[in-house]
Amino acid sequence: MSHGMKIFDSSGTETFSTTDSTWTILGVYTSNANTSTTHTGVPVMPTRIVTRTMVDQITGDDEAYVHTYSLSGSTLTTTAPDASNTIKTIFTVFGK
């Protein structure tokens, strides 16, 4: 590394550097089961990804729909594909 920054712990092990890549949390948004929700105020970064986590179960079942989504500007639009069998979904928006 000819320029940049390295961060070390007290034993001299590198914990982070500007040669790394990471994903910063821009926001965590929850869409409840069977409900379509529009989340606003999502921060913007040049590159963003959205991960979805299915949380809990629908009536003890492993079979369910996950919310679909679209991210445009500062708006995350999430849609429940089914009115009674769409699982609670946590959206984590990452940026870098």
């Binding site: 914990t15 500007t18 994903w23 910063t24 949390i25 492993d62």
Partner: protein, 347 residues
Amino acid sequence: MAHGLLVKNDDGDVLIDSDFTHYHFLGKYTHSSVTQVPDMTGGYHASTGGIGGNSPDQNKGMENMPSKGEIYIYSVPVNGANPPICFIKPTSTGSSAPYAGIVLTKQSGSNWEIRVFQSTVTSASPVLYCFAPLNQISTSTSSTHGLKTFNSSGVATFDSRFKPLRAVGGGEITSPGLAHTGSSGSSWNVSLSVNASPVSTSFSTQSSASDLIYYCPSLAHACQKYEYEQADSGWYSWKRFSWHRSDIWWCFYRSCFRIASTSSFEANYGVFARGHFYRHEAEESTAFGSLLGFLFGGAIFGALILAISASTWNNANVEGGDYLPYANSYRNTSGNSFIISKASYYD
């Protein structure tokens, strides 16, 4: 940013932005228990051999059904309403490695229960590397070295003493639609093993595949079934006979993933649950009038599948005819974001 710290790498990617929170290493977790979904199986009139000389008695159990994967259960202590993000350190990597994915995330008291499904049973077990924002990490550190940032409210957003998440790759991957393609069986022989081609996507080449960990929760699932019925009647050995057998086999598949190489990430399915039900009626008599009334095919099979509408595995009511607890289709195969990191950063 009016004040604070913004660090970018030479690709222009944001590494540290003091306005935003970052994931930090929460810990490394091994499973507390392992389980499998019990088979759903049953039938009526298990043995009718000899009736008519051709009444089929074979394969009334789980013969020819593909093996199930296993489910590892973890308990991850983390404060707050949001679950940790958990990377899987797989039991092995490569083109023959099992697939694994998180199939359940559920809050249980102050812990989060994480269930990892692995497509095949192995002696080794996957390990979870979990991350959370600083405000959800309750451990402390006495280290005085490093870099710590705060947002404009004075809340810590980055602290190098807690090993921030370092990514070496990532992107988006879709899962296959059907888990099994082609014929699903012949006669009383079911064929529902996973034979879909894995979906592959690449990431920047790393030095060692076995050091890689990945975050990619399972979203997709599929259910596929095979049905078969047959009937015969007539005279055999001086007796009038009639028999009718109807069967339904099914597999429920969950999507899961593997590190296929130092630069390749793959998605496919594993058999999560499976079932087989049948009904077999047979009778023989020397008198015409005493035979069963099912000589006209379809009646029994119709009754068997009549109530196949249950949507839940746990609530499946076999007695009520819920023989197929899942919809015969696939879901949630749209793009799934994934992140690749290295275990050695945190070991």
